[in-house]
Point group: C2
Chain length 106, copies 2
Amino acid sequence: MFNALADPNRRRLLAAVAGSPATATELASDLPISRQAVVKHLSALADAGLLERERRGREVRYRMTPEPLSDAVGWMAEVGGQWDQRLAGLARTFGPSGAQRGEMPR
Amino acid sequence: MFNALADPNRRRLLAAVAGSPATATELASDLPISRQAVVKHLSALADAGLLERERRGREVRYRMTPEPLSDAVGWMAEVGGQWDQRLAGLARTFGPSGAQRGEMPR
DNA sequence: CAGACGTGCAACCTATTGGTTGCACGTATA
DNA sequence: TATACGTGCAACCAATAGGTTGCACGTCTG
């Protein structure tokens, strides 16, 4: 998951798809890399659960699924909570490891 | 920064240091990798601004500095805000301070 | 039907990464 | 002073990642 966000191009792609769903070919025209590279990146994001493939006719449209981001925020809040006031507050909303509702950490 | 968190060992190290400051040699004894590998990981975390070196006599103690985590949370809130209710709330607390985003939504 | 277009698959190349080992250097301490 | 201990530096290695190109396949459309 963090691995998926580690690459700058991947973050750009995620931000773009977050704006509005798009296909690999479309996204490739906005980046200085080939379509195949974009496909690989999108696959990585999809493997991390951040994207969802949606076939429509002969094209494949990618849509965002932000749940993993919440998990990541939860982890960061847990790790940094005792050092940062704002992060500490988050630990209540975003529980550790995918807790959906207001589970209390610790 | 996300790159620094991409590696599992690095996340474990950060969590450990978050618990209480420690030296590379200490941390290495808790992991199945060599001290040198730990040093490299700690350097990566330090380069990302997540850790701070603190020399004390002949040893070097690492301490956490969680500011970059807030930036990361800010980025995630911005990207996932329109899709996730909880993330949307964060965008107010953790502004786009320093966090660079790919594109503005349409 | 024929062709254009979007996609999937595979091979391949290079740079980076996570890991190791060996050794030199400075700082405590017996 | 002699020695142990924590650290820094460098070389090295195997695996992975990001990227490319080429081609085959399915699906629209004139």
